[in-house]
Point group: C2
Chain length 480, copies 2
């Protein structure tokens, strides 16, 4: 792994071409590779390890709130997909259709799941009879397929990995509480673990999930001022239950329809991490999901005792539960610095003969390159504290970028002028609730509605578009 | 979950109809459910939790031996599948073919992966240039599709979950060592964790994986005397490397083809657990993979202090790392006993007012129903020891069944007579190495070759079929 890449790969700068910078990072940090399957990507070990860390944290949180994992078939017969009319309208146009099994033409074509509401509904109808069978709190980790025209690694690919929660409740109230609870799990995970500040709120009616009564989202602002929908949680009411004839006997011995939710996050989050935290030196990974949290670089490693001291340090940190690597390859320290910066390793620990003599090492933070000389005594706690500091610095930086790029506007002209002057960002502006105004804002200014933030501000008392009485402040942006 | 199933489900007895008993257990122990997708199954929470435990143990072992997880696309273009001629001949006839993306007919049809050798090869060709890039030790957890005509839960379904390891090495020797190492990981996992004795050895040439130079398998004997191929490990030589033009510069600066392996186990192992250990009361789960290792049944739970003591016991055991559940539902203890027997929970712990008074509880083993009155002092260690005892008893029982049903035969007539008298089982008999004899053994006696065991015995010095000099002892059986 050395000679043939002695030069650390160069990447396009963010300012020059953000889109190119993004794909450069995806490839040069060894997150993905392309294959001959157009629109699908290979997730390489370093990228997949990030996903595994994400899975571990979220799966634990889901289980703590009583959810159980299941596995549904990856195929959906066309007739089953068609049972809920909004749902099929939303997904059939981008489905991948299997028409042959071996050399035999199928009597009914089947699609590779784009999402699994229909499969869960069919199963729920089969197993739910009484209020005692409720709630059903299910989750599934799998891959899904949507036949997109234009694709980008992690952000939009024909196949992607995700989790989809599907729950069924006796009452609307309980299902609504579940919808919000899971939205909060996503928001908290983004803010605490991924160091990505998010805005929470419902989507406007025109932007709901196909078949949902309400869709809630978390929206994050990327470095370039575009928005990323980072997770969604849907309340279905009893619409699917009616379409799939899911009924249960309630406590009063009456037949009733249960209420349903679904919620999901995807490998897209890795795209969000890249575009929120990355810089011209490459990836910057939040410590909670970084495959390597600290890399030890021995300095003058040919000198006696250096490698032994580096291994000892590695073993101490590993024993303390830190994901640590010691790079003892024959590349130069400078090459290694660049390599692990590209890969976004949160902390670099330099250890040379003089450090060893002074019972110290040097800790360099990936996020701001700040350098600390610290004692080897209690180094485990020092490294843990430094990892927390990295997370906090990442969050602060992302929050500052978002603050700088959040604009409060009262008129369409103000939106246009502000974006022209300051560049893309979140626009906060009032809305009357009319879909025609929502469309016009997008048509005239280019920004679409992202969500109606729970945290409302009163920017003005009239709609930014039509001047009629405003109902809500909406968050607008150009989105990925 | 109570009223509507106050009666514990009855299942067909093993003796009456083993196949029916098997599917009864799959359904009544809540492992699976059927859906409208013919040949695919829903893996329910209790079944999926077994798979998650299997995954955790194996994934840790794979990583300890240096393997990294990746994720390849689920689709393979037909032209890519065709690059290795034996491989495409083996898999194309049972592939599920996608021909439409949305409303658009694809210019080339693509199949849903039946296995991913071709995808890994394409990727290896892309990323491997020098001996410094080797070995590549990759693994993938995913689902695959094979369009089978007849299907059975876990044993043979159109979609199934598995892991597939794919590794690439500079030398044949290293690749061969990897093939055997992973076979041993599988064998050890089956024997230690699943309590299933296995026979290891290469397949006969006619029974190799499509495109492999050598295929090794572990073979287990089910309760009914049929064999189950429980895991395979393949050595490919450089055949795929040549077909996919994977080359590297070796230490002498010469271009060379690397050597390759793949190895996999699937959800089929859950079928193996059921058919090795189950009985007429239902499932019997090996403690290492049981979602619930011990269930506490409070006796006379309405009496003061009983539930509190049961919860306290549960918390103590959980704190000790035991997967424990306390069933405080209003079902009768008798109902609960049957329910958790059906679900194969290794240990039942009964705790009533008199036990509490005597500072004791009752531990009942699922495997032999042995009953122990034990002190609550040090109960954590007692339960752990009992779990080990359950595993050992399960292994001993399975090994005894296998021993009883293993027959050493010298002639075809002897095979036929033995099987007629004693029922299906493993037949050990000598083979000359000729495929015609292999075919004839199957045609005449009904048993096919399972593998050529590493542990050879000299049953005779001539082939069981033709009477010519014998080369090897082969293990023969009717297989799932």
């Amino acid at each position: 792994m050395a000679d043939n890449k002695k030069m650390v790969a160069q990447i396009t700068s963010m300012e020059e071409d953000f889109a190119k910078w993004y794909t450069d990072v995806c490839v040069k940090a060894d997150l993905i590779a392309y294959s001959s399957i157009k629109g699908c990507m290979i997730i390489r070990p370093y990228g997949y390890a990030i996903w595994e860390n994400i899975q571990k944290i979220l799966d634990t949180r889901f289980k703590e709130t009583g959810h159980e994992n299941v596995y549904m078939p990856m195929f959906i017969p066309e007739s089953l997909l068609q049972k809920e009319k909004d749902h099929v309208a939303g997904f059939a146009p981008e489905a991948a259709w299997v028409t042959y099994g071996g050399s035999e033409k199928l009597t009914e074509r089947i699609c590779v799941r784009p999402t699994s509401e229909t499969l869960f509904c069919e199963h729920f109808a089969d197993i739910v009879k009484s209020y005692r069978d409720l709630p059903k709190l299910y989750n599934q980790w799998c891959s899904v397929v949507r036949w997109e025209k234009t694709t980008r690694p992690f952000l939009r690919s024909r196949e992607f990995l995700w989790q989809e929660g599907h729950t069924l409740h006796a009452t609307a109230e309980e299902a609504r509480a579940e919808t919000i609870q899971q939205l909060n799990v996503y928001a908290d995970f983004h803010e605490q673990d991924l160091a990505i500040p998010v805005v929470k709120g419902p989507k406007t009616p025109s932007d709901k999930f196909a078949g949902a009564e309400d869709t809630y989202a978390i929206e994050a602002l990327m470095h370039d001022g575009k928005a990323l929908q980072a997770g969604t949680s849907h309340y279905f009411g009893d619409g699917f239950a009616k379409a799939f004839d899911i009924k249960f006997t309630d406590k009063n011995n009456q037949l009733a329809y249960p209420h349903q939710t679904s919620w999901g996050v995807t490998t897209r989050m890795i795209g969000g991490i890249i575009m929120t935290h990355g810089d011209d030196n490459g990836l910057v990974l939040p410590p909670a999901v970084a495959p390597i949290q600290a890399v030890i670089i021995p300095v003058q490693q040919h000198k006696e005792g250096v490698l032994d001291a580096a291994y000892a340090l590695r073993d101490r940190l590993a024993a303390a539960g830190i994901r640590v690597k010691c790079d003892d390859s024959d590349n130069t320290p400078g090459w290694k610095y660049s390599e692990y910066e590209m890969k976004g390793v949160p902390l670099r620990i330099e250890l040379g003969p003089r450090d060893i003599e002074s019972n110290q090492c040097v800790i360099v933070s990936r996020v701001d390159r700040s350098k600390q000389f610290v004692s080897l005594d209690g180094i485990e706690d020092t490294v843990k504290a430094s990892l927390t500091a990295v997370r906090d610095a990442m969050y602060a930086k992302a929050a500052a970028n978002r603050e700088k790029k959040t604009y409060r506007c009262k008129t369409l002209d103000e939106i246009t002028a502000t974006l022209a002057e300051k560049g893309p960002g979140f626009v906060k502006a009032m809305w009357c609730g009319d879909e025609a105004c929502e469309d016009k804002v997008k048509e005239v200014t280019g920004v679409g509605s992202r969500c109606i933030p729970f945290e409302q501000e009163e920017i003005s008392d009239v709609c930014v578009c039509c001047g009629r009485a405003a109902k809500k402040m909406v968050l607008w942006a150009v989105a990925y």
